[in-house]
């Protein structure tokens, strides 16, 4: 049917070209090559420390009249006591829900009247409050932000309200296969170390959290010498520093020293590998994860790691190519390196129909393994680097994106000008570097597998591949320890 159209195309071409007044061309069978590249310039941050130790970073950028400000505390979920999973996140979330002078509703009204947003949460290694607002209102937004960081009231009424909301949220997450799989994967890889629990807690831990636990997290970690303020967008450096001084300059450090945290997380081994099925008989789809320990953020192999991951992940990365594009087994397969301050992990994931669960698991492990043992041509590697670099550049198209990129560098003590070496550091990685990283850091034989779905549809196939499959019924799952299984207790 396409061929018949060609005469018509020619006829119209002549007409069209006359009308447009351009030079007649025949249809072209190969893509026109690129023209000369345009140059990229990354934004330039400026920084200084206030006398109280608060590190202030300003990234001026004038394209849009918007400003994002983020106050980071250099501790997060990893400081949760073992039986109080979720307390750091609850502390961060409560900041915006009442201060010594304003109620939760008054805070929401004040920031939203400006058209702005104010969010707070804890993640691994950090807690943060951030605001995004039209630039003429950044002063007002920062005043609100400083108040919630410095003077939260942690009223019992708000604690109870947030506790109920958190438990309701967990009901949803624990009914969702992809979320269950991630909760389980963290326990599998980090076991009972401080990185292994659910950031938002568990149905058992959340009811145990008391006001004192929350106040203690705040008084211990929320202090200027443990904080970074990043302001980016339509603001000058001078104005940014002035605002920082005005709202955070008289923030005092407590007399006691900041606790030093020692976190050790286990290294994944072939002997310790788990093949774990969470049986959720009425699930609508199966989630497959492959997970293992990898590198912390300060590891000198950082760039080897992210380039290696880019070979596996992304639309045309090997995982998605094999699982989605070639076989139609999933809407998408991807992997990521989660690099924390004291440890890190690698995770590959895909969702598929139940009967394909075992096949997707084996394809995933095969691709991880092939990276260490198979061929990697320069031509493939260069396209994956281009994809990684393009994504990095796009991540800084927005005010929020710029702030979060620099905040992440600052958080982990990486010099901010590393951003200017990013391209060169990525380009320097050779196929041999990828192979060595894959062999030493993400070896497939010590990679665990977590599958959540209707087990009877994939378990027989999975048992043909692995001899040590553990099966836990979703209703027997216990996220409070690395065993993951509820112990039957009789009274």
């Amino acid at each position: 049917m396409r061929n018949k159209a060609s005469n018509l195309i020619l006829a119209t071409l002549i007409l069209a070209v006359c009308a447009i007044g351009s030079v007649a061309q025949t249809a072209q069978a190969t893509p026109p090559p690129p023209t000369a590249p345009h140059s990229t310039v990354f934004p330039k941050p400026v920084e200084k420390n206030l006398p109280n130790g608060l590190r202030v970073i300003v990234i001026p950028r004038t394209e849009m009249p918007l400003v994002t400000a983020q106050l980071l505390i250099k501790n997060g979920g990893e400081v949760d006591p073992a039986d109080l999973a979720g307390v750091a996140d609850m502390t961060a979330s409560l900041l915006t829900r009442g201060t010594n002078t304003k109620s939760a509703t008054q805070i929401a009204e004040a920031i939203e009247a400006l058209g702005g947003t104010l969010n707070s949460s804890a993640v691994w290694d950090s807690s943060s409050v951030s605001t995004n607002v039209m630039s003429p209102r950044i002063g007002q937004a920062l005043e609100i932000m400083a108040d919630v960081v410095r003077n939260p009231s942690f009223k019992d009424e708000e604690i109870e309200r947030l506790r109920r909301q958190t438990l309701n949220g967990l009901r949803g997450a624990l009914a969702t296969g992809s979320s269950i799989a991630r909760f389980v994967a963290w326990r599998v890889v980090y076991r009972d170390s401080p990185y292994g629990h659910s950031l938002s807690g568990t149905p058992e831990s959340v009811p145990r959290i008391k006001r004192d636990d929350i106040a203690k997290i705040h008084s211990t970690y929320y202090r200027p010498d443990n904080a970074i303020l990043v302001i980016g967008g339509d603001v000058t450096a001078a104005n940014g520093f002035e605002l920082a001084q005005k709202y955070f300059g008289d923030w005092q450090n407590p007399p006691n020293a900041l606790p030093k945290l020692q976190i050790t997380a286990p290294e994944s081994t072939a002997a310790g590998r788990r093949i774990l099925v969470i049986d959720q008989p009425n699930a609508g789809q199966t989630t497959v994860l492959a997970v293992r320990s990898a590198i912390s953020r300060d590891n000198p192999e950082y760039f080897r790691g992210i380039v290696t991951n880019a070979v596996l992940s992304g639309y045309s990365g090997r995982l998605n190519w094999e699982i989605r594009v070639k076989r139609g087994l999933s809407y998408g397969a991807a992997s990521s390196l989660d690099m924390r301050r004291s440890a890190g992990s690698f995770m590959a994931s895909a969702q598929t129909k139940h009967p394909s669960g075992a096949e997707v698991a084996s394809l995933t492990l095969a691709e991880i393994s092939k990276l260490a043992t198979g061929e990697l041509l320069d031509s493939e590697l260069s396209t994956r680097k281009a994809s990684l670099l393009g994504g990095f550049a796009r991540s800084m198209e927005t005010t929020n994106g710029v702030v979060s990129q620099f905040a992440s560098l600052a958080m982990y003590g990486v010099p901010l000008d590393e951003i200017n070496r990013y391209v060169a550091n990525v380009q320097a990685i050779k196929p041999a570097d990828v192979k060595s990283f894959a062999a030493s850091r993400i070896n497939a034989d010590s990679t665990s597998v977590v599958i959540v779905g209707n087990a009877k549809e994939f378990l027989p196939d999975l048992q043909k591949q692995f001899s040590n499959v553990e099966v836990i019924l979703a209703s027997d799952l216990d996220l409070n320890s690395a065993s993951l299984k509820k112990t039957v207790s009789k009274n």
């Binding site: 071409l13 009308a19 351009s22």
Partner: protein, 465 residues
């Protein structure tokens, strides 16, 4: 070229509580250039040298509402096929030309339009104009690619509808809310209809809708206008305008004549869902701005009415939202809420209705109105930070609102909305007779007696054809 500067003044009393009063925030105008080729292709371009990239955004005025009969989900499946082969491009070559050089690509199928886009290093503009012209003029499809991509879309269905506990609830909303208009068919379709699709359907669909006079090419970024014009002429100019009529959906959704109630059931329902839907006019209606403002006052942010009432004070719901889902042919004003564990959907419904009555009985406060306007403007600023965001906004104005300059004038319409307008549209549309109610409950609560017409595992809900 059109010029517009929108200046916006903030009422002094509004921000008094938060500190100093600021004067005005300028919404940067979006200067665009528009031209139409003799074959009907419309081209819009916006220069933006803030990064060395360019975004191409191609809008086809065909969407899920144009799915052929018994082929729900087809427009979306077709969108996936557009990333396969053309006469001069092998399957996945679009990814080679974008992802492999540091760009990215994607597409989205909406009810009224299908949008393909790529952001690429600026020096690849000509290459990608060629590629977009290729798939507009000479898409090819083979059995193997068709079947594997259809399997991908079926996994997308499972991932979006079957896997999330609330997927079936949101799926049911269009199915239950529309009576006659094809908006009643969810864009993702059903497994049966996807399985029934053939390569012949693909060819027919491409011939019918993928034509230059049904396409708008939008280019935003770092380019040279003269070069762009030359390349567009060269690659799109020769594509003929077919002599076939361009079919348009002309089904009018009938006015509702009384409340209807539906019960949907899911296998895993951690929190029960409640939805109220009201039939409202289209995105082109004069009431569109007031409806959007009403939704913002009701549910944007923690100071909004629904959050304050249902989530914060009464603690009946984990979340409560209002939305003005305004489409090209008609719209739906929706309320959705998830009951907190142990709370009754009936109480959630009553609380939503109480908020509707409040909106009808008294005008919104001046402070609420100003807040909503500030939230909307800030949201638009955020959208326009990226070339993709700019091109999406321009495409929506041009294709769905019928005038690209609506990108610059829509804010005026929102600024002009008064408290009385919000009250008036609430009284006019949020009426008892115009309400459909959908509950989403666990399968275990399905009445044992009414064995027929089970809610679906993989197909659409009960009343759909």
């Amino acid at each position: 070229m059109k010029r517009f500067t929108i200046v916006f003044v903030v009422c002094a009393f509004l921000v008094a509580a938060a500190g100093a009063v600021d004067a005005q925030v300028k919404m940067p105008q979006l200067k665009y250039r528009e031209r139409t080729l003799p074959n009907g292709l419309r081209v819009l371009s916006v220069l933006d040298k803030s990064s060395p990239t360019v975004t191409i955004n191609v809008w086809y005025h065909v969407g899920s509402k144009d799915d052929p009969d018994h082929r729900s989900g087809f427009a979306h499946l077709f969108e996936h096929i557009m990333f396969k082969s053309t006469k001069n491009m092998k399957a996945e070559m679009m990814d080679r030309l974008t992802e492999d050089v540091g760009g990215n690509n994607n597409a989205t199928t909406q009810d009224d339009a299908t949008i393909y886009y790529e952001t690429i290093p600026a020096n690849y503009l000509e290459t990608l104009l060629w590629a977009e012209a290729e798939r507009l003029s000479s898409l090819t499809v083979d059995d193997e690619n068709f079947k594997s991509e259809r399997a991908v879309v079926e996994e997308e269905f499972r991932q979006g509808i079957l896997a999330p506990p609330n997927g079936r609830f949101f799926y049911a909303m269009d199915v239950r809310s529309w009576n006659a208009h094809p908006y009643k068919r969810p864009g993702i379709g059903s497994i049966e209809d996807l399985e029934a699709a053939t390569i012949a359907d693909v060819i027919k669909f491409h011939n019918t809708y993928y034509r230059p006079d049904n396409a708008t090419v939008i280019v935003v970024g770092d380019f040279d206008q003269k070069q762009l014009d030359t390349w567009v002429n060269k690659y799109f100019g020769p594509i003929p305008k077919p002599n076939l009529p361009l079919p348009r959906v002309n089904i009018t959704e009938p006015a509702r004549t009384g409340e209807k109630r539906f019960m949907e059931y899911g296998p895993i329902v951690p929190l029960k869902g409640v939805a109220l839907t009201y039939l409202v006019p289209s995105s082109k209606s004069d009431d569109a701005a007031a409806l959007r403002m009403a939704a913002t006052v009701l549910s944007q942010g923690r100071s909004s009415r629904l959050y304050q009432s249902l989530v914060y004070q009464q603690q009946l719901a984990l979340s409560a939202n209002a939305g003005a889902d305004l489409r090209e042919d008609a719209g739906m004003f929706t309320f959705t809420a998830f009951a907190a564990n142990g709370k009754k959907p009936e109480d959630v419904e009553a609380a939503l209705k109480a908020e509707i009555k409040k909106l009808q009985d008294a005008p919104a406060l001046a402070a609420e109105l100003e807040k909503a306007k500030n939230q909307i403007v800030t949201g638009q600023l955020r959208q326009r930070e990226t070339s993709l965001g700019k091109s999406n906004a321009l495409g929506r104005a041009a294709v769905l609102l019928g005038d690209p300059n609506r990108i610059n004038t829509d804010l005026d319409r929102l600024q002009a909305v008064t408290a009385a307008d919000i009250q008036r549209v609430a009284q006019k549309y949020l009426t008892d007779n115009n309400r459909y109610v959908i509950y989403y409950l666990p399968e275990s609560e399905r009445p044992k007696t009414s064995g027929n017409n089970p809610s679906t595992n993989s197909s659409k809900g009960g009343e759909a054809k």
